[in-house]
Amino acid sequence: MRKHITYIIIIAVFLSLFSCNKWLDISPKTEIKESENFSNEQGYKDALTGVYLLLTNSSLYGRDLSYGLVDVLGRQYTDIPSSSMYYYLSNYDYSNQLSINLIDAVWNSAYNAIANLNTLISYIDDADPSLFTANNQEIIKGEAYGLRAFIHFDLLRLFGPSVKIGADNLAIPYVKTMGKELSPILTVNQVIDLIIADLQIAEDALKFDPIYEHSTINNWDDNWMRNRELKFNYYAVKLLQARVLLYKKDYSAALSAAEEVIGQTTYYWTPSSEITTTTVENRNRIFAQEMIFGLNIPSLRDDYSSWFSSSSALLKSDYYWGQTYETSLTGYGADYRYVYLTYYDPTAYKRYSLKLQQPESSISTYSRRLPLMRFTEAYYIAAECKLKTTGVSEAVPYINTVRSKRNIMIELSLDFTEAQLQNEIFKEYMKEFVCEGQLFYYYKRTDASSIMFYGGVFSKNKYVLPIPLSELANR
């Protein structure tokens, strides 16, 4: 009897030790445990939304990768005062501590967003499909892969050497796993290949995107599928493919991707009446219908007024604004982008961009939205691809289409030389992508030897931002 009791106690102790492991697993109240979060669909949705929220961070697309740092480097602003934290960057001084802080923050925040994506991806790849409504699993997966490619591509364009001269030089790590293990630094071409591979997965998954014209599925989760232009949707993937393939100089593939964006009917040209309306509050400054992908940033109204005013830092002199939009040429001065998207303060003699202005009462579909990918870029990419493959004459119509929509009624000649047309494409990047950060990347992609409106001596090695010391020191 006594022996039995002893045995029972010993067995009980060991059994309880084995069940301990589970008992020792605790769920914090103020946080959600990772494994718990991914036990239902809402957790996946929330984790994805979290990434969009991270992207609205001022070190990422909420400022520095849209109207901030990249546009400063692209000299969209020429009158940055020396008291501004962007002053040294605008002079391509990357060793100043203020510049280092800005650059490091981009790197750190971008990889932080990628880490969040990687965790999401690691769970969604193996997730039980029965957890999800309709095709949400595919869509969340597509967006996650697409965003991973999107962020890496911008990191590549900032921290990697220009593809034109350094395609096989080391650029950045392409991080696909979450954890403390380091991912190796890859060459530009290797990174591009990984981006293309991720985009392929995204494209396949987003065939279920309700926004995709050929999508045959129609039982989607209505509420989750609202405002697809604020998510990394099917066409954002296509346009990014076109961007990347153009960067890779794979013109035919880039062209077909661009053509698919041009050919769709979900996005369309913003009616001029919305731009020219005399009710200033209702003016559609972001050309909302053309925005393939943009972010919802609730604080954009306040951010705008602190960065864009006659007393703020992000100013371009009135003279250079004139040069940008070639206002001295007949017909160019009517460009909507000049007339309605810039403002001259006669008392301060300053002109600044109105693109992101958000009046109190503006229409909800225009407000609190920061455009990151635009319909017109597909036209420019298509034009450039045609130019490189079939020649000027097939390229010109793309540009003319855009110009007419922007109220430049003078058509470009079909007899332009290749260089002339390339220059016109460049001008379009400068005019179209104010506050959207694409101009600097254009300079870098074409390995331009100078940057317009920069008076100092520009050295091409300034195209490569320094990778943070903390990254190099800890590798």
Binding site: I9, L24, P28, T30, D46, N116, P468
Partner: protein, 1118 residues
């Protein structure tokens, strides 16, 4: 038979005498005749119902043989029947006596009739049980009870009980022995209960070691543990347990809080055997990372509970120091373990014990040396406060000066320091009743303690009650203890004491009309003003603790125990600043903030700790082998939750209720939650051979939710060996050495004071932003799922000695290496995060401790004795390995120290005071400063020595070197206890030698002082440089720059502190009291923090002054 009879009679000499007399008179000698060959003769005897006497007479007649018998023994009136024909005498006698209890014996020429001798049969075996108590009727645990001449033995349990099965022979002798007590021998008689009262030997060493999980005999234990008896604690500090332990053992270090002095509401910071963890720079740890583990009656408890514990209920405190002693607590034990046991209910008739203590707290301002009004004004003149090159300004300044000078002449010399202070009487009462029998015992206590702080309005009140029941039924016993504590603390509304020290003495406190002056211009307000507007700053808690113990011994030597403990604490604090508080005085009425004046912060916290454990104890006695084995399985859960809200806008100071506020303060409510769980299996063994060769071994498997999921369980172990040389044949009965024990131990323990959820990968909701209507969450940090406890390798060698029957010595050497310290590791940010928690750092603590006591004089009959004790401890600390992130921390601090544009007062502190620097090979307590050559007498500037040896006037962080160590080389206590006819007198001193200190209060009162607005130390006037060519200790009085850490203020700190004196007398020694109901009526007087001899003059108690305490107490037992 006779012998036994006689021995019995010896018990009482009177009875014995009477019996002897009886014996003599009753012996009947019938006839005396020679007999020869009688046995061969055939005789006959035929009798019916005849008395024995007649029968014998008949036989005598036939055979001629004399019969002798004792009438006391032999009843000759019994009637017998016999039919014997032609038989020998032998046969007839045998036949005759067959049916009687008598027998016969031929002795020489007569036959003796006696009672039949019982055949040599087995002695009667019986069961014996009992209780072993000490002189104060407190059950003694671990007393060895051995049947003399055999190996049969038992040890008493926690209640002092022992029990033998059916194996003790009547007449056997039980020997009760316990170290430090005189052995008792008890003969087993008729009774099956043998209760024993043990008497202390003249020299008491120590008895049992209570580890909180089980008890070990001190004699066979190989670990380093110190047990302090409750009475001894009460002698050195009758108000607070923590002060008591500090005054008794130097390894228990309470960090002196120069800032908060004697503030009753500041919990002390404690460490044992040095600083093992890296200071809590980034909130990695919960609370103090070096704090030892507190175990109260077997369950983990908080320092707050220990701080508020009623000292009268303490039975003993045991400090577990080395691996053998503490490894049973596994991952929580690295910082040492303090085991506190309260008095269990004792057997006996109902008894009452009442204690009262009255404490007088007096502020101790001896460290202050401030200027008076005239001196302060003179200092200001020297500092050029009233000088301006601009004649117009000079005129105004002259006017200002004259105004103040007139005030000084009028005799204005305000003593601000005394304004917020008081001398008040705190009270402490406690009553304890107990009683019961063997099966059921009970005790109940109630305590009230009110500590009156020396700053007006600051106090701490604790009311606590406890009911304990003990019940035994056969082999089962239970104990249940329920405690309720209520605490209420108020902080003084007078604010920080430093405000008063800063006030200029030439300012009047009250104007001519006796009204309080509000302001002195320059944004300086009268600190007394805020008291008049009222407010609140209080906190309190309610705590319920329920502990249940059950014990079952199914067979001898085997015990199965189970314990359950639950503690629930609800705390609350309130802070209210009314709208007319001085911080709002300069908000004009048109300002938006006007409506939000007044602030109320309310916070609430809840703590639930529960623990359950089950154990098996088995004790094996075989020949000279003794083996104690324990296995304990335990689980526990600790849960805390807290939140705080701040409300603004209280239009009237009368609305001191949070609901009366206008709106919430900006931002979110603050809150935190943490749950930790732990499970563990402990196996501990103690083996001794012949009490000479000793061995301890323990092993613990420890699981905790705080560890990463990949490292959920940790294993800890310890091993110890010991040799009781005094039990060897050649040492026994030595006059020189009564005890010599050598012991050594090694083992691993852990510490896990870090935050609850660091190892769990988790997401945080972003609550302040939505994305197009959706909520999102992001990963909070890069969790290290392999995160584990800090590991500490403890090594200890020690010896216990007793010499010449008067001196006991205890010596320990230790070396503890703490590995896997939690550290932030910098990591390449491409993984998504820039830091990562890792087990990386390593520290080393080495030292030795000596404890000794001497009985210099003793005269037991007159209760006179003099005992002296002396303790010494040495500890050195070294950082062996740190992370890059901590090196980066050094650089960040250096950059802040260099920054000349600093104005924020909290950051200024960084520049003025030395900061911790993390350098491998250095101590965590090193004082880093720039070496200084002193003040150049020519210009009054300080001359620094750069690292390359050159001199400079410029302070540079890069020139900082180690200029001292704040950890003393030696610290300890000296004490004496003197008894004289019922009087007990006790002195306690503490000392420290061989360390340094950065005298930051000095530099901040002499050099880094705003001389224009604040009062200064007198030495700012007398010792600062002001005449070229005259040497001075302090820099120019006109130099307003910040004095940064310089070797000039690193001073050797040698200190001798008279920490307590107490005297008590038991009135029961008086004839008057002898016949009263009182068993004890003791009165005592106690004084704490009496005086200090120190090489450093440092302004102590800046925010809250230090205090001296006098207390009167009485204790009555009846």
């Amino acid at each position: 038979m006779k012998k036994i009879l006689i021995r019995k009679k010896l018990l009482n000499p009177k009875v014995e005498k009477r019996l002897k007399h009886l014996f003599m008179t009753m012996v009947v000698v019938l006839l005396i005749l020679p007999i020869t060959g009688y046995s061969q003769e055939k005789i006959s005897l035929e009798l019916t119902n005849t008395t024995l006497k007649t029968a014998l007479a008949n036989l005598k007649a036939q055979s001629g043989v004399n019969f002798v018998y004792n009438t006391k023994e032999v009843n000759d009136e019994i009637y017998l029947t016999i039919q014997a024909v032609d038989k020998t005498l032998d046969a007839i006698l045998t036949e005759l006596l067959k049916s009687t209890p008598y027998t016969y014996e031929k002795i020489k020429d007569y036959i003796l009739i006696t009672v039949k001798k019982q055949e040599k049969k087995q002695p009667v075996l019986k069961s014996i049980s009992g209780v072993v108590l000490d002189e104060e009727n407190i059950p003694m645990t671990g007393v060895a009870v051995i049947l003399e001449g055999t190996s049969t033995g038992r040890a008493t349990d926690i209640d002092g009980k022992y029990q033998f099965g059916n194996n003790i022979p009547e007449g056997g002798i039980l020997v009760f022995s316990f170290l430090g007590y005189e052995s008792q021998r008890k003969v087993v008689g008729a009774s099956s209960v043998i209760d024993v009262k043990m008497k202390k030997k003249e020299m008491e060493i120590e008895g049992a070691i209570a580890t909180g999980m089980f008890t070990r005999r001190a004699e066979s234990f190989t670990g380093s543990a110190v047990t302090i008896k409750g009475d001894d604690l009460r002698r050195v500090a009758n108000q607070n347990l923590i002060i008591g332990i500090k005054n008794m053992d130097p390894s228990f270090v309470v960090t002196e809080n120069i800032e908060f002095g004697s503030d009753p509401n500041k919990l002390p910071e404690i460490q044992m055997r040095g600083q093992t963890s890296i200071p809590n720079l980034r909130g990695d740890y919960e609370g103090n990372p070096n704090q030892p583990l507190f175990i109260l009656d077997g369950f983990e408890t908080t320092i707050e509970k220990v701080y508020d514990l009623n000292i009268n209920l303490i039975q003993s405190v045991t400090l577990l120091k080395d691996a053998t002693a503490k490894a049973i607590y596994g991952s929580k034990a690295a910082n040492g373990v303090v085991v506190i046991e309260t008095i269990p209910p004792a057997q006996g008739r109902l008894k009452v014990s009442y204690n009262a203590v009255f404490n007088i707290n007096m502020p101790d301002l001896t460290s202050y040396n401030l200027c008076n009004a005239a001196q302060k004004l003179e200092a200001e003149v020297l500092a050029d406060k009233y000088y301006s090159p601009n004649p117009l300004e000079q005129a105004t300044l002259n006017e200002q000066y004259n105004e103040l000078y007139k005030e000084v002449l009028r005799g204005v010399d305000s003593y601000w320091l005394s304004q917020p202070l008081r001398t008040d009487i705190g009270q402490q009462h406690s009553a304890y009743i107990y009683g019961g029998d063997d099966a059921m015992r009970y005790s109940a206590s109630i305590g009230f303690n009110r500590v009156q702080g020396v700053m007006k309005g600051s106090d701490r009140k604790t009311i606590s009650g406890n009911v304990s029941l003990f019940y035994r039924w056969k082999s089962l016993s239970f104990r249940n203890s329920l405690s309720v504590d209520n605490n209420n603390s108020n902080n003084s509304l007078y604010g920080s004491f430093s405000e008063y020290a800063n006030m200029n003495p030439y300012w009047r406190i009250y104007d001519e009309n006796g009204l309080l002056i509000k302001s002195y211009g320059n944004n300086i307000y009268n600190p007394l003003y805020d008291v008049t507007v009222g407010g609140k700053d209080r906190s309190g808690y309610n705590m319920i603790t329920e502990n249940f113990y059950g014990e079952w011994s199914p067979i001898d030597n085997l015990k199965i125990t189970a314990r359950l403990g639950i503690a629930i604490q609800n705390s609350e604090s309130e802070e209210f600043k009314p709208s007319n508080h001085s911080s709002y005085l300069n908000i004009p009425v048109w300002d938006d903030r006007y409506i939000t004046r007044g602030q109320f912060t309310k916070s609430s916290a809840k703590l639930i700790n529960s623990a359950l454990d089950a154990g098996i104890n088995y004790t094996l006695y075989k020949n000279k082998h003794v083996l104690f084995t324990n296995a304990i399985f335990s689980i526990s859960e600790n849960n805390t939750e807290s939140y705080a809200i701040t409300v603004l806008g209280f239009p009237s100071d009368k609305l001191d209720y949070i609901g009366a506020g206008n709106n919430y303060a900006e931002g979110k409510p603050i809150g935190s939650e943490s749950t930790t769980r732990a499970a563990g299996l402990t196996i501990a063994m103690n083996y001794s051979y012949d009490n000479r060769y000793l061995m301890d071994f323990s092993w613990r498997l420890n699981g905790s939710s705080q560890f990463g999921s990949k490292n959920r369980f940790g294993k800890f172990w310890s091993a110890g060996i010991g040799w009781n040389i005094h039990n060897e044949a050649f040492m026994i009965n030595s006059d020189i050495m009564q005890m010599l024990k050598l012991r050594a131990s090694i083992g691993y323990t852990g510490s896990q004071n870090f935050s609850a959820y660091q190892a769990i990968p988790s997401y945080n909701y972003i609550t302040n932003q939505i994305y197009n209507g959706d909520m999102g969450l992001v990963i909070s940090s890069l969790a290290n799922e392999a995160l584990k406890w800090q590991r500490q390798l403890d090594r200890n060698i020690g010896a216990d000695l007793q010499l010449f029957k008067i001196a006991t010595l205890r010596l320990d050497f230790y070396s503890n290496i703490t590995k896997d310290l939690l550290a932030d590791i910098s990591i390449a940010p491409s993984v998504g995060f820039s830091t990562y928690k890792e087990n990386l750092g390593e520290t080393l603590n080495r030292g030795y401790q000596l404890g000794s006591s001497f009985r210099i004089f003793s005269d037991n009959t007159n209760q006179r004795y003099i005992n002296i004790n002396f303790n010494l401890a040495h500890n050195s600390n070294k950082v062996r390995k740190i992370s890059e992130a901590l090196k980066a921390y050094n650089d960040a601090v250096d950059a802040m120290k260099e920054d000349y544009a600093m104005t924020n007062p909290s950051l200024l502190k960084f520049q003025r005071d030395p900061s911790i620097r993390f350098e491998e090979g250095q101590s965590l307590t090193s004082i880093w400063a720039v070496p200084s050559l002193g003040i150049n007498p020519v210009n009054g500037r300080e001359v620094f020595v750069k690292r390359d040896g050159t001199t400079t006037y410029e302070w540079s962080a890069a020139d900082q070197v180690v200029c001292g160590d704040s950890n003393p080389k030696y610290n300890g206590n000296v004490g004496a206890t003197i008894g004289w006819g019922g009087f007990n007198l006790n002195f306690a001193f503490t000392y420290r030698f061989g360390g340094q200190t950065y005298n930051s209060t000095l530099v901040n009162k002499i050099e880094n002082v705003d001389i224009n607005n604040h009062n200064v130390d007198l030495r700012a006037l007398t010792h600062r440089w002001n005449t070229p060519g005259v040497e001075a200790k302090f820099k120019s009085i006109r130099d307003y720059t910040t004095t940064k850490t310089t070797s000039r203020f690193v001073e050797d700190l040698n200190e001798f502190l008279f920490s307590s004196i107490s005297i008590d007398y038991d009135l029961c020694h008086l004839k008057l009291f002898r016949k009263s109901v009182f068993e004890r009526f003791k009165i005592n007087f106690n004084m704490n923090d009496i005086g200090r001899l120190s090489t450093v003059r440092v302004e102590r108690g800046t925010s809250y002054p230090f205090a001296r305490t006098f207390s009167f107490g009485l204790q009555a037992n009846f």
